[in-house]
């Protein structure tokens, strides 16, 4: 386990941050569209995982300690410093989500970067993400709703985590 990043690794992390910086902003359109048609629960199930995806993708591509955290955190930082109405909330969410995404890779001592780890790395950020939602929205939604949301967000995250791993595998195979 070595915390060694080459300049190419840094550049790929920057690419991940840039792509997800753009995707995170763009993803609000489908989120609100689905929410309008199918309600909040459907929107969470179908879209929340997108915001957790940068971490498993970064880890699957770079296979280094802290890659998951850096991938998520950088994407959140880039999203946050661009003018938008949420202040630096994206950075706060991304920091905690990135830390939780790091857990499955840490648990394997950074020896395995497979599909299962990517699914868990996609699912775990649901915990801090919904916990932060509770701090913001706790006075509106009852606790039962948050319990449902955390499960749906974790399922969504796991699915997008697997997709992230598949994309990383496809892209690594080509280069």
């Amino acid at each position: 386990m070595k915390l060694r990043y080459t300049t190419v690794d840094l550049a790929i992390l920057a690419v991940i941050a840039a792509i997800f910086g753009a995707v995170f902003t763009y993803a609000w359109t489908p989120y609100y569209a689905i929410k309008a048609v199918g309600g909040k629960l459907a929107a969470v199930l179908l879209t929340y995982g997108i915001w957790y995806m940068a971490a498993p993708l970064a880890a699957s591509l770079i296979k280094n300690p802290l890659a998951a955290f850096l991938g998520e955190f950088l994407a959140g930082f880039v999203e946050s410093i661009m003018p938008q109405i949420g202040g630096f909330s994206g950075l706060i969410y991304a920091g905690f989500q990135g830390l939780f995404s790091e857990i499955p890779y840490l648990a394997t001592r950074y020896k395995r970067f497979g599909r299962a780890e990517a699914a868990v790395a996609g699912a775990l950020p649901a915990i801090p993400s919904i916990a932060l939602d509770i701090l913001l929205w706790g006075s509106v939604y009852p606790p039962q709703i948050f319990m449902v949301l955390i499960v749906l967000a974790a399922i969504s995250g796991a699915v997008y985590g697997i997709i992230a791993h598949t994309i990383a595998k496809a892209v690594s195979g080509k280069t």
Partner: protein
């Protein structure tokens, strides 16, 4: 003299980040109201001209908050509109969440109006001693962002011409958008990384200086300290 030369971007970043954190941390509605009362006027004064379009999504989000509060919040019924009973929790919940969102909007207006991402990055590296690797990644991301936004736009056009959903809904839709994006992106990243290495990135020494806050920076920090302290005391009373 430009405003950006007076206020340090790092100080503005710390100010706006602290405001955003306060929107999560304070539980008392009076504390939130105090912070909003101080910062929203500042945000509107410095940012209305440039970011008045922010008010539209903000107002839409407030409508969303109101609808959610009316549907989900509990408490005793205080009024009825047709079939809909308005509960006390809905009024409180709407006020509480709106204040939090308002504080975040204020943080955005203050930060985005008085500085920009590139100045912030330069300032973070020189004044807050951000490692050069981190500033390289963020600078590169900012440079690549518009390229990938164009790529997303092109992929959407291609999807439309093929009769596919332009706006992704399912995870499979997202996969079909992200795979070509990353296929291009990782290639770009590899070559940019190699080029940076060949140009001696590893040996570049970043310029560092001790942060010397201007009087305006100090006023801003004092304002931050004062309002956070006052909000904390209000919350304890």
């Amino acid at each position: 003299m430009q405003r950006t030369e007076i206020l340090s971007p790092s100080i503005l970043f710390l100010y706006s980040l602290s405001l955003t954190i306060s929107a999560f941390v304070f539980r008392d509605i009076r504390s939130l109201l105090l912070i909003l009362t101080v910062n929203l006027p500042i945000g509107i004064i410095v940012g209305y001209e440039k970011f008045k379009l922010f008010l539209i999504p903000f107002l839409i989000s407030l409508i969303g908050v109101l609808i959610n509060a009316l549907i989900f919040a509990g408490g005793t019924p205080i009024a009825a509109v047709g079939q809909l009973k308005i509960r006390s929790g809905a009024i409180y919940g709407f006020a509480d969440v709106s204040l939090r969102l308002g504080i975040m909007l204020s943080a955005s207006l203050v930060f985005s109006s008085l500085t920009n991402p590139r100045l912030l990055l330069k300032s973070l590296e020189t004044e807050l001693w951000l490692p050069k690797e981190a500033s390289f990644m963020v600078a590169l991301s900012l440079r690549l962002l518009s390229i990938f936004e164009k790529d997303i736009h092109e992929i959407r056009l291609i999807r439309r011409s093929r009769g596919l959903r332009e706006t992704p809904v399912t995870p499979v839709d997202w996969k079909s958008i992200l795979t070509p994006l990353f296929s291009l992106g990782v290639q770009r990243g590899r070559w940019i990384g190699i080029a940076a290495e060949l140009r001696g990135f590893r040996y570049r020494k970043p310029k560092r200086k001790i942060i010397r806050p201007s009087s305006l920076d100090l006023y801003l920090l004092m304002l931050l300290l004062f309002q956070l302290l006052a909000a904390y005391i209000l919350g304890r009373i």
